[in-house]
Symmetry: C2
Subunit: 337 residues, 2 copies
Amino acid sequence: MDKGLEKNITIADVAEALGVSKTTVSRAISGKGRIGRETRERVLAYIEEHDYKPNVIAKGLAQSKTYNICVVMPGEYDVVDLTFFQECLFGIQEIAGSMEYDILLSICRKNDISSLERIIANHKVDGVILMRTFVEDEQIDFLQTKNVPFVTIGSTSANYKGVIQIDHNHKSACKELTSIILMKQMDKIALIGGNEEHVVTQSRLRGFREAYAKMGKTLDEDLMFLSQDNQVLVEKAVKEALNRQADCILCMDDAVCSRVLKTLRQQHVKVPEDVRVASFYNSMVLENNVPSITSLSFDAKELGMVACRTLLDLTEGLEVKERTLLPYEVVLKESTK
Amino acid sequence: MDKGLEKNITIADVAEALGVSKTTVSRAISGKGRIGRETRERVLAYIEEHDYKPNVIAKGLAQSKTYNICVVMPGEYDVVDLTFFQECLFGIQEIAGSMEYDILLSICRKNDISSLERIIANHKVDGVILMRTFVEDEQIDFLQTKNVPFVTIGSTSANYKGVIQIDHNHKSACKELTSIILMKQMDKIALIGGNEEHVVTQSRLRGFREAYAKMGKTLDEDLMFLSQDNQVLVEKAVKEALNRQADCILCMDDAVCSRVLKTLRQQHVKVPEDVRVASFYNSMVLENNVPSITSLSFDAKELGMVACRTLLDLTEGLEVKERTLLPYEVVLKESTK
DNA sequence: CTGAAAGCGCTTACAG
DNA sequence: CTGAAAGCGCTTACAG
């Protein structure tokens, strides 16, 4: 029946050993409240020597805090999304750890947020980071009615007011990449796109359209293939695009892009000789492709770091910006030569 | 300065509202201790109606438990590993959630386990699941000296005694796949292999060798390329293997396999016409490859579920098996036709 | 500058 | 069957 965990030394033990009160020990550790320099140093020395670590749980209970944040990860995903989430997590963990916070993981499917609900009901966290949002988002509804501090990675639909969002500037990025391609005299651009329920898809689409407007060109709606979210649909779209003589295929994300490339390979269509290809996202999956793929470049870890820092500020009651947009790079490679 | 979280209803509130003691309320909820049926039902009804949820943190403090488990995820990984970790996580979360436990995530690099150390020092979890182990493993050393209950996903080196391990039967699986290939009259098998510091690599190697022994064939050490853990090394190994007329390339994991396939593509070597290919692991990355790749098939989610269940038993002081081996399948596809 | 005491929201012997 | 009280390990007014 032994739990295995050693009986731990508590604040009472060090107080007794030093002949001071628990209050004093607590003050020495937290640095709050007046305390004599000498006393504080004695306490600190003892703590150091005996390797005392405060019980964060108890501390949290006394302060009505948990020193945990929840990050919710989508339960449905494409392989290529995974590296993005992972990178974000690295960033979040780096900041959280440095502030003595830990990460509670919640996996939520679009129609099942029970894991998140339980965590909130159980008072296990001080705030939440949403790694993906939908145009209609149950998670946001829930968190807002429960009044839980949260931030989203990626932008949220305009339906939601007052949501703190940390995102890359997808619209500008897509606009810039599209513009560059248009400038290269590829006029027949086929756009093959991801899940329209993801807010980011909308931003990308907007950037794409704005590029056309800016360049004074009109886009061919027959070359727009949205919501092609599986291999079969992508294959059909690619064939259709080729039939219509598209000279460039723009992929709205890397899941789409890897499917497009696969289809082209099967069809023995050469990139960039027969058709150019570019992606509105960047990922490790495409990193090693032959030929290398023109794409945007975003720093997902940075996104995680900023999101975490913002959430922590928020839980402390600090003022935070509603929308933070991080920069991007356009990376031109062989696939659009 | 508003924390945002509503003031929550506590056990004291419901006790007062019902004119009973906190003890009684507590008993009604936990089901422990004697309590009148009618009283219990009154309490339960009130709780239900007012949507009272016990504060798990406080409960944990009183019981010296946290209702959290830590899962440590490797900080260095190949893209193809990610789906494995993700699947495991799904399994872990499913079981943990059903037992009202949550997952605290720790990301550890081989030489930096500070995140895990902090979580343990802070008493934040009741036990730990290690998602990857090394032949020399700091994490295990640490957890053992701290006397923290833990289980590993994957086997651990024989250097460590008494470690609870949940694994697929890699050795048998590799032995079986290798045997099948040998039976198909491919005698010149090139083995291109992953990180030798991972315990699983050793198991795979053993299975490979045993297959040769069983079939009464001698293996060609010149066709064994171990620790080829980047694109450059894999390329060299593939070329060397082709030079030596290998008729099948066996990849020790999918990271290697995707690199091998890439190299073969670049060299315009056809699979399976010019050389056969098979992998000692299965992943979503290879799922869509053309041609389809012969590989082993393991259920990572199941692994996570069993690991979590075992850890929970362990923290409760129940007897658990030191080593649990889950079954596998051999999936023959076009690449070894 | 320091300490006794109450409190965070639960559980659990102990007594009745 | 039920309750008063002590305890889990901290923090924090309040008083001195």
